[in-house]
Symmetry: C2
Subunit: 197 residues, 2 copies
């Protein structure tokens, strides 16, 4: 029975298989097309097996969502190590957010319940989001060490600007080339960051 550890490893493997498959279907056919049975087929199991790893589809989506937020957080930490200037840091983190949304649109969609992705679990109470928020707020604080409320306001502004441009750029990608949108994004973020000092 020394295979217990081995068993746990294979359990973990099918678990990540479920997550991988869900993201794969979402990427190719959109979140609306992601169903438990389709995932089960792909990992060559029957549907109820999926429920041994995730109590509901909602929880599976929540997991993928938080994975996304954690990935972004990691990127932020990497950037923090590379740059010391707060202006540069915030700018690069904004660019990282853009790239993330462009490279993995299906993850960005489930993070914000966009385009058919729908997870009823509230986004904002998660530690992953709180973690991410704190990182940005700290950087803004290093610009202007004001009150918590002022920082929150500025963070809200930054988040809105970034998220708004990303979602609209996605929406308008047929009408307005992504490269143009990115250029406007960079300029706007630069302006915002300059405006902070």
């Amino acid at each position: 029975m020394e295979t217990l550890e081995r068993k746990q490893r294979s359990r973990e493997q099918t678990r990540v298989g479920i997550v991988l498959t869900a993201k794969d279907i979402a990427r190719r056919e959109g979140w609306q097309a992601v169903s438990i049975r389709k995932i089960a087929d792909a990992i060559e199991y029957s549907a109820p097996i999926v429920y041994e790893y995730f109590d509901s589809k909602d929880i599976l989506l929540d997991e993928i969502r938080n994975e996304g937020f954690r990935h972004l957080k990691q990127e932020y930490e990497r950037i923090k190590k590379v740059y010391r200037d707060p202006e540069k840091r915030l700018f690069e983190m904004s660019i990282a957010q853009w790239q993330f949304a462009v490279e993995q649109p299906e993850i960005y969609q489930v993070m914000y319940n966009l385009n058919g992705a729908y997870c009823t679990i509230p986004v904002c109470n998660s530690v992953a989001v709180e973690d991410l928020s704190n990182t940005i707020r700290e950087i803004i604080f290093s610009f202007i060490p004001k009150s918590k409320e002022s920082i929150q306001k500025l963070y809200f502004e930054w988040w809105s600007l970034s998220h708004g441009m990303i979602t609209l750029a996605m929406m308008l990608r047929e009408q307005q080339p992504l490269e143009l949108s990115e250029q406007v994004y960079r300029d706007s973020i630069r302006r915002f960051v300059r405006g902070l000092r």
Copy 2:
């Protein structure tokens, strides 16, 4: 058979009944809960009858969505009549958009495929959106009569700012009171408008 006109009127009535019911369910239970059968029950018909008015659920959602854009356009026209100053016009239109999103969140959701509302028909090709866009672009043009590309960039900026703040304010309404968000929104829009002259 002079009842033909009468018949057309009742047809129109059940049609708006369908739209009204869909919006009502969406408002109370969210778009995810809106189903053809539930709508049919509410208007006291069987499900296939709904298909005599809308070829698909997608088309019904698209109709509601465009209704929303047209409503907003009407608001813009009203504002254009009241104010002559371009700055004031753009500011008031931004406020109108905020109010619309707050008062009829379910409509705003279906307009942007938010929170479980999902309509596969592309938003941006519709005349309703093009109409709305032109209104704003014209106002921006009256600020700075630059090239079409510059205007488009500024319009994209304005739209992103407005849409981003609205969606995030909705998302954060438990953590951050709507009144605070609205205050930040007003300030940001004011700054944007001032920045145009």
